[in-house]
Amino acid sequence: MSQVAAETSAPVVRSANGMRRLLRDPMGAIGLTFVVLLILSAVFAAWLAPYDPTAINVPAKLQPPSWDHWLGTDQLGRDVLSRALFGGQIALGVALVSTCAALGIGAILGMAAGFGPRWLDNGIVLVFDTVRAYPVIILALAVGPIFGAGIVTIIGILVATSVPYYGRIVRTSIISAAKSEYVEALLAMGMSRTRIVVRHILPNIIGPILILASMDIPTFIAAEAGLSFLGVGVKPPTSSWGLLLDDGYKFIRQSSWLVIAGSAPLILATLGFTFLGEALRDTFDPKLRRRI
């Protein structure tokens, strides 16, 4: 279970000409392009979308892509491109908020466990292990309806199930760093533990953790889409990639365009973020291993 964590020691981010090296990797260049385009399209969805994503135009339902509707229309004649653009806001929003929250909480708990008293460490690790005992999607499916389907519930579940992952990495890094002669020397000099963690350990481990987190973004995007697809996530009329996928799935025999267009943003986003994450890892810290 701690395989990932075990390999995250002694990390140094060499970022001098990192960007150039990242772009020289074709995977990195493609990934970065996708991701930048996605972020821009989500941020400027309101300007870019050719139609109101909720505007119903039944006579134009289930149309294949055309000049009027680049990605065609759905069963209510809504413009799929516009819905995809606004769905991007939800997808990226959920992924970003979940990542930041999970990272933040995980880091705090990980530091507390790594540098705190033994009983606290044991307690926190046990909580981590317990949470990781649940298969994420299955837990979300069971717990989602209890707290009511919606974005907040999705984020809550994603954060709760991801905290242990980051927490463990931070904890292991701190424990191994604490054993280093350098830290022992700082302690001997009378520097406080908190100060050592914040000033000397954290800056060293933050880089690899950010890279790992970037590799998690596609997982979060896929989870939001999947849960919305299952009906325990985002609800209409809000647009979500998962709902697009659901519409496409329902009308798979009537129109294969809807499922192809509806799944395109999800595929591009997960590919883009994965490529970028892998390239970041290869460029800056090849020993990191992807989360499973």
């Binding site: 279970m1 649940y134 298969p135 994420v136 069971a142 999947g226 009906g231 499973i292």
Partner: protein, 315 residues
């Protein structure tokens, strides 16, 4: 080593108990009468009364949890509100279908991923290696639900080669396998890339190790070295990775089962959630959690057996 195994199993049991208790508290936190929440609107007063009595809902929460754990430990997961059968009976119908699916997915992942990784390592930096590398990353990225839907779009709705629905339980072993192909690919294909990369990396490491060089010096054929010695060692990490990966595969299985309307834990849970059939929902989560805890515990133990350094690395 023995002590470690015992310790690890003990930890697995503690984690399982905590996980079940947490789940119980979560359901209790649902608004409304817990008996109604757990049993749904269809439950008769008699059923509700029996439920209250069994779990002692008027007693303090810790007592309730202990009672609940005790009944779970005895295999009593409550009564399926739809069929009026014990939840355990319902699970017994669906659990094998999911295990089947997971096994087939692992077979696909290992059956394709290990040879691909192996060949990529042998032909390092060749065009083949690069293609496998790029494909691996791409396939890992695509969510299982998308793969399931495209599988259906192309092979069921489009070409009509593979069944779109069900597990084919009534048609004998061939029918079962026929129905298993698309869902298993949806669950397993992402792991092909993952395993290929893992095997490639560890193969490269192993192939450059001293004893392999020695073997070469003794004049063993290259093919024999690669496939008899190096591969055996390089495959070890995949076992543990798959063990941990069962959690994600269970999630993918939910989608595969729903897209293909295939009986299984995921489909069962999905239906139970919609029907507010809480005992079945809880039973299914428990089963899935049990599968995951057992597989992670086993993979940790296997890992420790293969690689004694691992357990020390833990602390």
């Amino acid at each position: 080593m023995f002590a470690y195994v015992i310790k690890r199993i003990g930890l697995g049991i503690i984690v399982l108990i905590l996980a079940i208790s947490t789940l119980y508290i979560l359901v209790q936190a649902a608004p409304g009468d817990p008996a109604s929440a757990m049993l749904g609107p269809r439950a008769t007063p008699a059923i509700k009364e029996a439920f209250r009595e069994r779990l002692g809902l008027d007693q303090p929460l810790p007592v309730q949890i202990v009672k609940y754990l005790w009944s779970v430990a005895q295999g009593d997961l409550g009564t399926d509100l739809k069929s009026k059968q014990p939840v355990w009976d319902t699970l017994a119908i669906h659990l094998p279908r999911t295990l089947e699916l997971l096994a087939a997915a692992i077979l696909i992942a290992a059956g394709l991923g290990i040879p691909l990784g192996c060949m990529a390592a042998v032909h390092r930096n060749s065009a083949f290696d690069r293609i496998v590398g790029a494909l691996s990353v791409s396939i890992i990225a695509v969510p299982a639900v998308v793969i399931a839907i495209y599988g259906m779009l192309i092979f069921s709705a489009g070409l009509g080669w593979l069944p779109a629905i069900g597990a084919g339980e009534d048609g004998g072993i061939l029918s079962l396998l026929h129905h298993l192909i698309l869902p298993a690919i949806a669950v397993g294909i992402g792991w092909v890339g993952y395993l290929a990369r893992l095997v490639r990396a560890s193969m490269i490491e192993v192939l450059s190790a001293d004893y392999i060089r020695n073997a070469r010096a003794f004049g063993l054929r290259e093919g024999r070295i690669t496939y008899r010695y190096a591969l055996r060692i390089a495959v070890a990490p995949t076992v543990t990775v798959l063990g941990i990966g069962v959690g994600i595969m269970l999630g993918s299985a939910v989608f595969a089962e729903i897209v293909f309307a295939r009986p299984g834990i995921g489909k069962l849970m999905y239906d139970a959630v919609i029907l507010r059939n809480y005992p079945v929902t809880l039973g299914a989560v428990l089963a899935a959690t049990l599968i995951l805890v057992v597989s992670t515990t086993l993979s940790d133990i296997v890992n420790a057996l293969i690689n004694p350094r691992f357990k020390e690395a833990r602390e």
